[in-house]
């Protein structure tokens, strides 16, 4: 399923671009913010949960996944270097799964690990830190699936991915109660809450629906992305 040659080339391509420097930026802001709040002894007693939930799972994870997920495939489609992968007998599903795996792994390193680090700084080795870490891992995987799908489906994937994060995850899922069932952030918070039982995490879903919906979304994204890549067309200049 995962093609080691494609994952290796994708890693090399990902870190060969200047954009890679941006991957660490959201994490850096989170850690600096955590250190600042810690040294100021927090403004409210529940600041670690608010910080990890809102800033960590709600902002750092989707933004990092956006940067990484749209780079692993979208950049190669933009400059046509993807042709060197597609002009081979490797199945399109294998290409999508390999790209998604790289995106999820890199997002986990640049977003989920910093969430864990911020959690440890803010609350020490507490269930909150580990819960948010697991939630961020889930978020890294599902967001990667979504952003790879967007890259395979449309031109200018960054614009669409940004609109999705800002409008759907940031606005609609917070305003429309039913939309919470279709929010990656809520699925991640559902995991974090199930582990930490922290009421300040703003989670509206329990463990089971969070996991089931996340798995369905990830699988559907991979299937549709495979379909779109199978119909990849090249327009003559």
């Amino acid at each position: 399923m995962v093609n080691s040659t494609i994952t290796w080339i994708t890693f090399r391509a990902l870190f060969g671009r200047r954009r890679a420097l941006l991957f660490a930026l959201p994490a850096l802001v989170l850690v600096v913010l955590t250190l600042g709040l810690k040294s100021a002894h927090g403004t409210t007693a529940d600041w670690p949960a608010i910080l990890l939930g809102e800033a960590g799972i709600g902002a750092v994870v989707p933004l990092t996944a956006l940067l990484v997920g749209t780079s692993v495939l979208g950049s190669e489609i933009d400059d046509n270097s993807v042709l060197h992968l597609l002009a081979t007998p490797v199945s399109r599903r294998s290409v999508i799964i390999s790209k998604t795996a790289v995106s999820a792994a890199v997002t986990a390193v640049f977003a989920a690990v910093p969430v864990l680090l911020a959690g440890l700084i803010a609350a020490g080795p507490h269930a909150l830190a580990f819960g948010c870490f697991l939630g961020a891992i889930l978020g890294s995987i599902v967001y990667s699936c979504l952003f790879v799908l967007i890259s395979a489906a449309v031109q200018h994937p960054i614009a669409y991915a940004l609109a999705y994060v800002a409008l759907w995850e940031g606005l609609i899922s917070n305003l429309v109660s039913g939309a919470k069932f279709l929010s990656v952030e809520q699925w991640s918070l559902g995991i974090a809450h199930a582990v930490s039982h922290n009421p300040n995490l703003n989670s509206h879903l329990t463990l089971t629906p969070s996991l089931v919906l996340a798995v369905i979304a990830a699988l559907a994204s991979v299937v549709y992305a495979t379909e779109r890549l199978s119909a990849f067309t090249l327009r003559a200049d």
């Binding site: 040659t5 042709l83 060197h84 002009a87 007998p89 067309t233 003559a236």
Partner: protein, 320 residues
């Protein structure tokens, strides 16, 4: 528009069952724009040149063959299989895209080895060495591709496309950016591959490239197959077309009188810019012009062939 049909080596191969690549009344639209219009052709082993001006539809034909476009109408097959949504076709097809997009951070050796692995070859390293050797890239193969000239990048792409020893090789403008020596070597390589029984199809807008390399030519103009067959026949058609020259002399009117009596000249007209001459035979006219003008005591100031562009040659072919 009349299509000039000529018997070609590849078409002979088709009739005798040697067809590898087949276009059957293929049309492709980009929205409202017809990129390829009702093209039918059969290609067998050997080198075929896809000749046409820029924007004629050459790349569209190659993309249809590589499965990166689906025909809006008609059928494209390689070895009896449709390439559309069929990645396993790349076990027998190699593609050298025109665009210079390549993993520039890799060395050519790593790039070609990766291609061999993606083609699931049993010994990717050995296959990569063989392919690099074919394109004479061994010495520079450990340098990052980003340091290569355009011609070297092109050779790296060809090595990656040849690494699995494909039955069909598709090349989109393969000589772009190559210096004369590299061009010569690439031509020898493709000729050799064609002789070894591979079906090679390359596109070019440069007549001389096609003439030097291809056994068979498919001329595409405005999305249609304008001529198809042996290049010598097509070349003769091109050579024998009326040629238009714009002349300026010390006495244009007197020169017109002299030239009209020449059998090589079909027509003469006086214009503001000078004397426009339609010559039926390019070679005879250019040889006679200097002689007759000197004999008539007329000094030639300017001789400009005004329809030498490839587009005008193609336009003539389309009307033929």
């Amino acid at each position: 528009m009349t299509t000039v049909e000529q018997t070609a080596a590849a078409n002979d191969a088709a009739e005798t069952g040697g067809t590898v690549v087949e276009f059957d009344h293929v049309t492709h639209w980009y929205g409202n724009v017809v990129a390829v219009n009702e093209i039918s052709m059969s290609l067998g082993p050997g080198v075929t040149g896809l000749l046409g001006p820029n924007g004629a539809g050459k790349s569209t034909i190659l993309h249809l063959l590589a499965g990166f476009l689906s025909p809006s109408r008609g059928e494209v097959t390689i070895g009896g299989e449709s390439p559309w949504r069929n990645p396993p076709i790349f076990h027998k097809v190699g593609l050298v895209p025109e665009r210079d997009s390549i993993y520039a951070f890799l060395t050519a050796r790593v790039f070609v080895t990766a291609s061999a692995k993606l083609h699931e070859l049993p010994d990717p390293k050995a296959a990569a060495e063989r392919a690099l050797d074919l394109v004479e890239m061994n010495e520079a193969a450990d340098r990052p591709i980003s340091t290569y000239s355009k011609g070297m990048r092109q050779r790296a792409k060809v090595a990656a496309a040849l690494v699995h020893d494909p039955q069909v090789l598709l090349l989109d403008e393969p000589f772009n950016g190559m210096d004369p020596r590299q061009r010569m070597h690439m031509m020898d390589l493709l000729r050799e591959q064609g002789r070894n029984g591979r079906t090679i199809l390359f596109s070019s807008h440069i007549l001389e490239e096609v003439e030097k390399l291809a056994d068979t030519v498919q001329v595409v103009v405005a999305g249609r197959l304008a001529a198809s067959g042996d290049y010598r026949t097509i070349r003769r058609l091109m050579t024998n077309r009326p040629h238009v020259f714009m002349l300026r002399s010390t006495d244009d009117r007197a020169l017109a009188q002299v030239l009209i009596s020449s059998p090589a000249v079909q027509g003469v007209s006086l214009t503001k810019e000078g004397l426009e001459v339609h010559a039926g035979d390019h070679g005879t006219f250019t040889r006679e012009l200097a002689k007759v003008s000197r004999a008539a005591g007329i000094g030639l100031r300017e001789v400009i062939p005004s329809d030498e562009s490839l587009e005008s040659v193609f336009a003539y072919l389309v009307g033929a």
